[in-house]
């Protein structure tokens, strides 16, 4: 197995705080998640109006990916073969509950395609792929907790089989406004942090 891969950068959003490569870039401990994520989006100057139509999971994953990828100064002329491998515990349950609520009572029955489309966890991967024109490998996995071993194995497989040049991977969890976390990292042939289980867990816990 090739162990010559590195973690080039990482981004985390939790407890109403956004950090990139370990440094806090935005913090707002007062507000609810909805207010916090909108304010963070504005402060980060993401300029992507579709953001406001996204569900909570997509907003969380999109912003974390955008902050990380923006910092990479990716080429706009040539394609970037960056695979996306995401995971979480709650799938799209936050939006699933909203759709269920809209059909629970026949007297107030109002299922909406704008909600239903977000009842799949991989929609957030689609949103990021559209913004960054990533026609690359993508997959969404569910585990009951952060699974560094799985992400390591799958990422190494994509890189060593030349399916991708870099892999954006991690954990994007949104159960409810008080239980959310994004931890994304970019695996590449360049970088200072070794791509191994211990270092992934260390970064996840910081």
């Amino acid at each position: 197995m090739n162990t010559n891969y590195h973690i080039k950068s990482f981004c985390s959003i939790k407890n109403n705080q956004v950090s990139l490569n370990g440094s806090v870039v935005y913090k707002d401990e007062e507000n609810s998640f909805s207010q916090f994520i909108k304010a963070a989006y504005k402060q980060q100057n993401s300029k992507y109006p579709k953001f406001f139509k996204m569900d909570n999971l997509s907003k969380l994953a999109f912003l974390a990916a955008d902050i990380l990828l923006k910092n990479e100064n990716l080429s706009k002329e040539k394609e970037n073969n960056i695979a996306i491998v995401f995971s979480n515990k709650s799938s799209s349950l936050d939006t699933d509950r909203k759709h269920q609520e809209s059909i629970q009572n026949k007297e107030s029955y109002f299922p909406s395609p704008a909600v239903f489309v977000y009842t799949l966890p991989n929609i957030c991967i689609g949103e990021i792929s559209i913004k960054y024109k990533l026609y690359s490998e993508n997959s969404f996995f569910i585990f009951d907790s952060f699974n560094a071993t799985h992400l390591l194995t799958y990422t190494n497989s994509l890189l060593s089989s030349n399916k991708a040049n870099q892999v954006l991977c991690g954990w994007v969890e949104f159960d409810d406004e008080n239980n959310y976390q994004a931890f994304l990292y970019l695996v590449s042939t360049k970088g200072t942090t070794k791509h191994n289980k211990q270092d992934i867990i260390k970064l996840y816990n910081t």
Binding site: F141, F143, D144
Partner: protein, 381 residues
């Protein structure tokens, strides 16, 4: 790199409780779809395929369950138990488990459902299946929209080639719920007639209920008669729209390119295509464009949605299993519901079930979020 095979398999559906029984119905061009008119599920009548509850429970009870299991768990466990029995493999730490589903036990969110709402967590579904059989490794749950079932095969192959596992069991399924039907209906995608993939008079999709399971292994001995070698796979995004396919078929085209490159074969080497064919205009048209870009327009092609409906998380896997049996039986199965070409690019749709010596097939799927997957399979015997 070690070779990877898809071997023992099972299908549970309205067409039967074993792959052989289901394939025998398909060879007779029998559809598993039926009309349902039940206002408590959906305001309008719709077509679906439903697993027979009595036979499911009878089969499941033979496994002596010691707790209460949801309908989906019963489907998956019953299906997987048949594959584990046929494989005769000891479940040690070199054996993996992958579950493919889009919505899992989402019916547990319904206030009228007897199970706890916590059962709707997909990891809980994974734990239920893992613990029932005593797998040593955690279940890997794949939830990547409508490509999940076929993507699971690619993931199993990758795990084996990374030398993490020697064998991976995959089980897949989704249940027919008001949740799913009301959602697709809000998109005005549901047909009130049996679906007609690629046909000029198509009226939309049918959702169907299936559980399908396979063994993926690196061991070339003790393979099932219909076992196939995985030649190459790819799974690429459209980067275009979250709920509509790309007009150029970009992601599907790239997925096929990736699979052909890895397999090191060309379009002429493919004997048939088991396509996605949901019978929506956008999907069918997108596929026609992508297959033409790959020079695959002359290759015989079918969609199996006319037999099962779209079985979501199971669809890619159940269609792969039928493809494996097609190779073994040297038979091209009719694309049920098709009469007149209703896409703007030529396709060679199979209009009559025919015997033919065949060796390789291409399986494709596409889904919401812009995801696509393509895998090339080759007969082993």
């Amino acid at each position: 790199m070690s070779k990877v095979y898809v071997s023992h398999n099972n299908i549970i559906s309205s067409l039967g409780f074993s792959s052989d029984a289901v394939v025998s119905k398909i060879s007779k061009e029998t559809s598993g779809l039926q009309r349902i008119d039940n206002k408590s599920i959906l305001p309008e009548p719709f077509y679906t395929s439903l697993i027979n509850t009595e036979i499911l429970q009878e089969n499941f009870n033979k496994l002596h369950p010691k707790a209460e299991y949801t309908r989906l768990e019963q489907m998956m466990i019953t299906s997987l138990s048949k594959v584990i029995d046929a494989s005769n493999i000891k479940l040690n730490d070199r054996v993996g488990l992958i579950l493919s589903t889009t919505k899992g036990n989402v019916d547990a969110l319904d206030t009228n459902n007897p199970f706890s709402k916590d059962r709707a967590y997909l990891s809980e579904l994974g734990n239920q299946v893992k613990n029932f059989f005593g797998f040593k490794n955690k279940a890997i749950v794949v939830s990547n929209a409508c490509v999940s079932g076929i993507l699971a095969v690619a993931i199993a192959k990758r795990y084996i080639q990374q030398d993490v596992y020697d064998h991976v069991f995959i089980t897949s399924g989704d249940v027919i719920t008001e949740f799913i039907l009301s959602g697709f209906n809000s998109f005005q995608a549901l047909s009130s007639a049996p679906c007609k993939p690629y046909d000029a008079d198509r009226t939309g999709i049918n959702i169907g209920e299936v559980a399908a399971s396979v063994l993926v292994t690196n061991n070339s001995t003790d393979l099932a008669k219909e076992a196939v070698t995985v030649l190459g796979e790819g799974s690429c995004n459209d980067a275009n729209h979250i709920s509509g396919p790309s007009r150029t078929g970009e992601g599907l085209y790239r997925s096929m390119q990736s699979a052909f490159k890895q397999a090191n074969i060309t379009a002429e080497d493919v004997d048939f295509i088991s396509a996605h064919g949901t019978a929506t205009m956008y999907n069918d048209e997108m596929e026609a464009i992508a297959f033409n870009r790959m020079q695959l327009s002359n290759v015989p092609l079918n969609s199996l949605k006319g037999y099962f409906g779209h079985s979501l998380g199971a669809s890619g896997l159940v269609e792969t299993i039928v493809g494996m049996h097609a190779l073994k039986n040297n038979t091209l199965y009719k694309s049920l519901g098709f009469e007149t070409l209703g896409v703007t690019k030529p396709l060679n749709i199979i209009t009559k079930t025919t015997e033919k010596n065949i060796t390789r097939f291409l399986k494709t799927a596409s889904g919401f979020g812009g995801c696509n997957t393509a895998i090339l399979f080759q007969k082993t015997n």
